[in-house]
Symmetry: C2
Subunit: 257 residues, 2 copies
């Protein structure tokens, strides 16, 4: 699942290039139309979707592998991937799922293929600015598109569980991660940031209290007004003061305990 290898090569001789038993799955979150989205690939020959994942070269750092895999399967690059969990179930990969996929691209996968072995999968997540992304699918997939978190399609293997775990991790680490920094454009209204926090935390926040609190951290800079075209008062735009933001995150936006 790397650009350097064709599918045929992957099947026939992937074993000699890749680290056995280890795979990567990336959960990419985006924010658009006031909703948190996740990037999925439609598996060729099926109605099922999957996360952009792949394998690790024998002499490659796993983080580098996560970055490379994501680029080759979706075209995305220059984003901050964060490892969050390992999915190690013995029943993760089944031939019922893999065989039709490879058949659809004109290749036969035998029971003896190294791809049919057990793989544990290292989960990475990233938050990306939706507008900056033009994902394109690889050979194995027919589509690469954003999906609403509340309305996911059928997912292969344990990918639903992986997405849920990524979101849970994000929730627990909400005060230690640069939530809005990567999900929003350079300039944005406070309401957008509030909606992201509400989605991640799974509850409504009071607008006034949210504004005062987030501004109180001293990590935002007020910019010009934004005339949205709606029949209402125009909000000010803000941008992150990157240095102050990352300094504040070191100890957490709110102290623990």
């Amino acid at each position: 699942m790397d650009q350097a290898l064709t599918i045929a090569e992957l099947i026939s001789s992937g074993k000699q290039y890749y680290l056995p038993s280890v795979s990567i799955d990336n959960v990419i979150f985006g924010f658009h139309e006031n909703q948190l989205k996740v990037l999925l690939l439609q598996i060729r020959s099926s109605d099922n979707w999957g996360l952009p994942g792949g394998y690790v070269f024998k002499e490659e750092e796993i983080e580098d592998a996560a970055v490379r895999v994501l680029k080759s399967r979706t075209g995305l690059q220059d984003l901050f991937l964060q490892q969050f969990y390992v999915f190690g179930g013995t029943k993760r990969v089944t031939k019922e799922i893999l065989k039709p996929v490879f058949k659809a691209i004109g290749t036969e996968l035998t029971d003896e293929s190294w791809l049919m072995n057990r793989f544990i999968s290292i989960g990475y997540y990233a938050l990306v600015e939706y507008e900056k992304v033009t994902p394109y699918p690889d050979e194995l997939s027919t589509q690469c598109t954003w999906h609403d978190l509340n309305n996911l399609p059928g997912l292969i293997l344990d990918h639903k569980e992986i997405i849920d775990k990524a979101l849970e991790t994000l929730r627990i680490q909400v005060n230690h991660q640069p939530i809005g920094y990567n999900l929003l454009p350079d300039e944005f209204p406070l309401k957008s940031l509030q909606l992201i926090y509400e989605t991640i935390l799974g509850r409504k926040l009071d607008r006034g209290n949210f504004n005062r609190k987030i501004l109180g951290y001293g990590i935002l800079e007020k910019k010009q007004k934004h005339y949205s075209g709606g029949a209402h008062k125009a909000p000010y735009l803000y941008s992150f003061l990157k240095e102050d933001y990352f300094n504040a995150l070191k100890t957490g936006l709110k102290k623990d305990f």
Copy 2:
């Protein structure tokens, strides 16, 4: 590194039993004499110490493997292991470290041994009640003892990094983990719980404020007084109300954001 296999078998035919490329390392925290401790094995033939780790059987769930490995290397069982990170560096295992270890137990390890391959290691941590533990070392180790976190001996591979990461994870998740539940005996004075929080958070807490706060969560039950023998007032002992405690942890002891 399992009881069913001898060291000789591990070297000669481990490859056919174990999942390639994947290993486990356990960080076991204990609390004794008002200090947070970590359990280490002294590597035979050296002054270096290491975490109790091992390998995963081909058809074994990784969590089961973590439990089995810990039992076989230290004798510990019935504790709650929590996965926290994967260490995937390409340079983790070096022959300079492994060879002398196996030589010391009378076995030669060649460059071609499967043990010399690259392994990524899945980190698990557990909090255990110090008094309930009688660790004993396995064949590869001369000692299995507790070490003060502030005074660690020389550690092999990236085990220092693994311990640091475990502690950092614990710190971030402090409001979502049953911190004291596993580290303390059934009944304990509030001061002991306070010291654990102070160690994990790395700062002093005010006694009065801590008492009021922790009691305010309604997760502790007051028991009889404990006459310690010291020249001072005797503290009350407390025990956790297990059900209430775990319910409170679901949303976190303190709400995020």
